[in-house]
Symmetry: none
Subunit: 164 residues, 4 copies
DNA sequence: GATGAATGAGCGTTCATTCAT
DNA sequence: CATGAATGAACGCTCATTCAT
């Protein structure tokens, strides 16, 4: 908190006028970033396209978004690997189903149209986003240099994992 | 550190006779767990088997190992999501190539035999282990209940992602 | 201060137009409450009554007032148990003699008419108000349930302490 | 806490090796002081003495103890005027009756032998200790100068308040 | 070699007060 | 006059590390 206040060029107390406490700050920043990300990824996307196209569109958009916004990616990753993120996922999976529907819709459609493997949603998510996040992380850390081609190949490989 | 010393039944200072500091302790514990894991996973494994069999063997063994040793899995995950883990991977990927060769060998063989996609090793790793880790995490957190069948299907889906 | 401004329905800064600072606000509120209390207690009181009657009147009135206005009592007690209250008493006892004369007059009359013990005023105050405040506090905290009879008995016991 | 550590000439953290937290420190210090006080006051005291003598002994001893140990008195007063003290009293009065029996015993004996007024214990306590504490406070703050004689007179006046 | 008391920078948070608008 | 955003010293507490014994 001290560091954030410092970088924001404000006093230590000022932060608490805008966020009730650290947890709230973290949660709100997460929500904001996720919204921004969802918006960016949803550009040029339509439910009317074939499943495969939708998957490739969403996958490449997301991967590119992460690569172009490494700081946001790092935040999102840290969030999901923290107790905050676990609670968040638990609410989302076990609680009333809302938010982030763009991805769920795609997978539900994919399964019901028998284009994707008939596996639980959670596993399909893992198959699609597991590699995607790993690859984004490795690029940002400098372990690979992703280019347009590599991005597409990677997402297509993810598609192979997910499709029938 | 105090808690570890306590559970070990030694004084707070004693720990520093065996580990220079917290970072070193973490790194050494990691190495030990990874060795144990590699050994477990390598049981019944042979380089002479066909690539696909080797992949399925290693994948299912690993996933089962994580499910049976959730504490170790949590440690390994936390480690890799921390600065320690990043440094570790950097050394491993960019530095002198050693350790954990069992996996690298498999992917190198897979690529050279043209059974796997011709992608950088790092991406193949992401394709294989990304979903695996995600699925292990979700199982341990209670978001899915993996059984024998689901485990095999998951690893086979990973194989689809990786194979030509 | 923020809470007070809030409940008053004004901005946080506005309070400082009416009170130089927190200390002044506390002191002024104290003065106001003491005035109100003195007025209430003085109802139906006359210096012409016999000392004992005056004492019992003032004592029971005061005790009843506290019981009926527990919030005010709590404020007054907190005030007197704080550095503010100590300073206030110091000024009152050692400094120029004013204020709250109704009580002093009674005790001075009591001593000079040889109805009360010939003790320093401060001690007579302690004998009279010490138990009264203690009993009011205990009632408000729920340690006793004072009724009309108990109140009178208590004040009469105080009188026993004070009288010759 | 910082101030205490400072005056003790130790680091900020050291204090927590001896007291779990601030509340515990406060409670333990209180217990220690009360024990010490009870011991001092009980010197030369016997349940076999007549009630009046017991009362005068305990009263004068206590008052003298406070005067000789002004710091302890201030601590005890602050404690009892704080939430800690209120909770403590609540436990003592409403909970299982233990501790500080020397005083309760005296009052119970006094009432049952019909030497003291037939009032609730809480009120008798107020009658006896209310003035005593007030007088001790005023002495310590320099509002009166108590001497041997004044002390005895004060306690005798308290006795008048309490006795039949 | 083992101990555990001591350390102190750092944590997240509060709140009386100021001052530009 | 009134506002409320901004302040920053202070709070109670933690914990990896040291060092005299």
């Amino acid at each position: 908190m001290a560091m954030i206040a410092d970088r924001a060029g404000v006093g230590a107390g000022t932060i608490y006028r805008y966020f009730e406490n650290k947890d709230v700050l973290i949660a709100e920043l997460h929500r904001e970033l996720e919204e921004k990300m969802t918006a960016a990824v949803g550009k040029g996307y339509s439910k009317e396209m074939p499943i495969r196209v939708r998957f490739l569109h969403l996958g490449t958009s997301l991967l590119k978004y992460f690569i172009e916004n490494p700081l946001e990616f790092r935040y999102l990753e840290q969030f999901h690997n923290s107790p905050y993120g676990v609670d968040y996922r638990r609410d989302k999976i076990l609680g009333k189903q809302e938010g982030c529907n763009i991805f769920r819709d795609l997978f539900e459609d994919g399964v019901s149209q028998q284009v994707m493997k008939d596996l639980p949603l959670v596993i399909l998510f893992a198959l699609a986003f597991g590699p995607l996040l790993a690859v984004a992380r490795d690029h940002i850390l400098g372990f690979i240099a992703l280019d347009e081609v590599l991005i597409v190949w990677t997402i297509e490989a993810c598609w192979d994992g997910v499709r029938r």
